[in-house]
Symmetry: C2
Subunit: 271 residues, 2 copies
């Protein structure tokens, strides 16, 4: 199979994405080394290249790595095409206020769902299972499941197959059959439920956001401890989420007509 060379570029971009997933907290060299599978000199050398280009910055004192200004500029320039956060921000804040629990926007990125923003709830007991930058395979977690359930059946199968290895390795509570069942339930209920399958007692409810072509591109979700997402409140929150998702979809439909691309490329195999 021909990958077209440029391996060090692949590694550098992987590192960049990794630094992004640690944004806020900052990433230590050692953790980047571990998570990327690179060795230290290589990781360091690539980070220097990323720093040189302004995509990453290093805190002089703590030596931790953060995303740099160029990353922000790039994202802002990409916003017209993908601007989910821009349009979902209001809704997330509103959801968090209304429910007192933490609210999230996630976006689909190929085979996974990435959390773009977490709006802290006011209720004193909170779950911190999901934080900005975290990602899970499609189907794992409330928002992630909502996205998956909104895809055409054929695509769901393709995604599950491509994710099979990761699921088996890191998500023991999520065998493919389970996810298929969850998808069916999500479609029946109108909202996705995660009954603490990633972190025990940390439940979530999610609803997908579709682009003007009807493709699921992201999700809104709420997370709380199990006792706050039982009985009627679950469906109430599902309805709230659905209402806000519709608002986001309307904003997307208004502004983006010019920019949106017909097809964002199918999921590819795992490396």
């Amino acid at each position: 199979m021909d990958f077209g060379g440029a391996q060090s570029v692949d590694r550098a971009l992987g590192l960049l994405a990794l630094v992004g997933r640690h944004a806020g907290r900052g990433a230590a060299l050692s953790s980047l080394v571990e998570e990327s599978g690179l060795n230290k000199p290589t990781a360091r050398r690539l980070l220097l290249a990323l720093i040189r280009a302004g995509f990453v910055e290093q805190d002089e004192a703590t030596r931790r790595y953060y995303l740099g200004a160029e990353s922000y500029v790039l994202g802002s320039l990409a916003a017209p095409r993908y601007g989910l956060l821009q349009f979902a921000m209001d809704s997330v804040v509103r959801l968090s206020r209304q429910t007192q629990d933490s609210a999230f926007v996630s976006v689909r990125r190929d085979l996974v769902s990435v959390c773009l923003h977490r709006e802290e709830g006011t209720y004193p007991v909170r779950t911190h299972a999901l934080q900005t930058g975290f990602e899970h395979p499609l189907g794992c977690g409330a928002g992630s499941l909502a996205i998956l359930a909104a895809l055409p059946d054929a695509e769901i199968e393709a995604v599950l197959e491509a994710n099979a290895a990761v699921l088996a390795a890191s998500y023991p509570l999520y065998p493919p059959e389970r996810i298929r069942a969850d998808v069916a339930e999500t479609r029946a209920q109108g909202y996705a439920l995660n009954p603490g399958l990633i972190v025990a007692n940390s439940w979530g409810v999610g609803v997908a956001i579709r682009d003007p072509f009807g493709r699921a591109i992201g999700a809104l979700s709420i997370a709380a401890i199990d006792s706050r997402l039982q009985g009627p409140r679950q469906a109430e929150i599902g309805a709230l989420l659905a209402a806000e998702a519709t608002r986001v979809e309307q904003k997307l439909a208004q502004r983006q007509s010019v920019y949106f691309t017909p097809v964002p490329e199918a999921g590819r195999k795992t490396a």
Copy 2:
């Protein structure tokens, strides 16, 4: 001089930034080759790496290159640290409505100013000199000059020196002395004026935006044909801009206290 290796990474990141500067329009391979100074096979190979990582997408039909989803995700993750667009968006829209001319947010990126968003004016005769993604050396253009004038004198000299080569080569109407004079005028007036120095008859007025530490990080600006920016209207627009800049600064001060970094690294020499 030791650059720490990883040259192909530098080139790839340069290409990525370049694709970003063409966002919206999309970038043709040939123009990327020309603007980057790379040769075709190399550029193509690096682009394939960028596509593989999701930072760039290629339109199947037109073969043009666009920023990909990962670029957007990355930028969203960097937003808490650099979120200027997020907070300036409202102001730009308002400015454009009030003045009927096109309004812009730009952000400082080392030695240059990059236009993050252009809000189209309603007035029938418009200038298209500045578009989203365009960048100019600090001091060249209204917003860019506003940023420069808001820096400490020592930093201004450092920036001018570092930019000397580019200015001499590509901005014949901007000798360093001229920029120094413009800075003085900007500080006296309270707003920066570009009297058609980049594109003839395309004038602009700009005001800097400062972060909570007082450092100039970006600018708001208005552009129009010369006849619409003469006499009293010039200062009126200057005042409007200053008012909106203050609003943005307040939003930044509120939200960002936790995130903002003390020092964003001094300008480095041109390559």
